[in-house]
Symmetry: C2
Subunit: 243 residues, 2 copies
């Protein structure tokens, strides 16, 4: 993609992209015992939105989502999965997009493709917070982490999209053992438990949680790290997916 400072180099008709289809990404990170997501703030509008994108005519859907994700986080090869399609006609509201484009100094024709009805495919991603470098897109001033426990208002139905992504994450957490994607490579059992508790929104019994995790045979226990008070140093673990 060229870096020409025009909002996505597409004409008024969206030539080269699949019409009427968008991708919205809920990108989860975990930091200081808080579950967070990435949001864009659009230039001069105070409008907050999920990172989004479109599908090129000759692009696989999943590749389009990976491209959006890489563009916003600098990361490739991370956990990413579609979770729901948002297709109510009530989600069609051209006002925010018109405001965003006008705030960017674009002249917006009444029939601009970005003002039409879109069906959006929701993807969610889990990334290691410490590795991501949030990058705004051409229409936005910032791309930053926001605490899930205190989300600001979002445009269109993006609040609903986030809620649905969280519900999916909760269901998938046990079934697909995906939580480890949110942690650094090594972690203590306590950190793992905090992650689960934060996502599930409930406290878990320490011994039961530890027993369950160890019984799955997916954790490798590493040496304790000497930290001056060895008797208190917790074991570090590593996720071993192929065990």
């Amino acid at each position: 993609m060229s870096s020409e400072q025009l909002p996505i180099e597409i004409d008024d008709e969206g030539t080269g992209y699949l019409p009427g289809l968008a991708i919205d990404c809920v990108i989860f990170g975990f930091h200081q015992q808080q579950l967070k997501i990435l949001l864009l703030e659009y230039h001069n509008t105070k409008l907050l939105a999920l990172p989004a994108g479109f599908i090129q005519e000759d692009e696989n859907l999943a590749d389009a989502a990976r491209r959006v994700l890489a563009e916003r986080t600098g990361l490739t090869d991370i956990f990413l999965e579609q979770f729901h399609v948002f297709g109510d006609r009530s989600r069609h509201d051209p006002a925010p997009m018109r405001a965003i484009m006008e705030a960017k100094g674009m002249s917006v024709s009444e029939h601009h493709w970005l003002l039409r009805r879109f069906v959006s495919i929701g993807f969610y991603a889990l990334i290691d917070f410490t590795k991501a470098v949030p990058i705004p897109d051409v229409l936005s001033d910032s791309c930053d982490w926001y605490d899930m426990a205190a989300l600001p208002p979002l445009i269109l139905d993006h609040q609903l999209i986030v809620q649905k992504a969280l519900e999916t994450l909760r269901v998938d957490l046990d079934r697909k053992l995906i939580g480890f994607s949110l942690l650094a490579e090594t972690f203590t059992m306590n950190e793992l438990q905090r992650l689960y508790e934060t996502i599930l929104g409930q406290e878990l019994h320490r011994s039961g949680f530890q027993r369950k995790m160890l019984s799955l045979g997916i954790l490798e226990r590493l040496e304790k790290q000497y930290n001056g008070g060895a008797h208190k140093a917790p074991y570090l673990y590593r996720f071993v997916s192929d065990k």
Copy 2:
């Protein structure tokens, strides 16, 4: 919709429908201990496919899926849920649709909208086999039940769509307690167990299964029906969702 015998009353441009988006429905039924799905056989082509449809410009996505389902089964108010979007560019193959339209005597322009790339949203439905009346669409000769254990070849990536629907059904079976949608209003514990075993593809322990089902508090036990050998008549149960 008019009943004019033309394949969907849409012009070559698909006016009135969302472009590039389709719906494919995997409609499950259960009969004689077999899990089945509905397939259409297209006129004079021997091509078999899932019931499919498109989304009207002012129609909610879920309403479009319900409309397709009602048109093919005569049923409304049944369990229906989206499960996956199929968006690989490799699924774009205009040949089968051209063959289907030509077999129906249509003159097909090179740029007909039905020959373009479609992204398809998969929905799966669970229906009471005894209540459905399969109805072919305007392009097909038959709409019939096919045994999941011996599916014939299907067009495009429909085999993959069916496989993904079955995987989703297996996961959802416990989590959402949806299996009852596949049974008649009353059923024996044995029938319920056969349903679970068929979907999951594995045998379950009788006593454990019964204990688990009863512990959920969602089954109402009805009177035994006198059938001339009362000591052997099994109890009938009814699913009570609001318990």
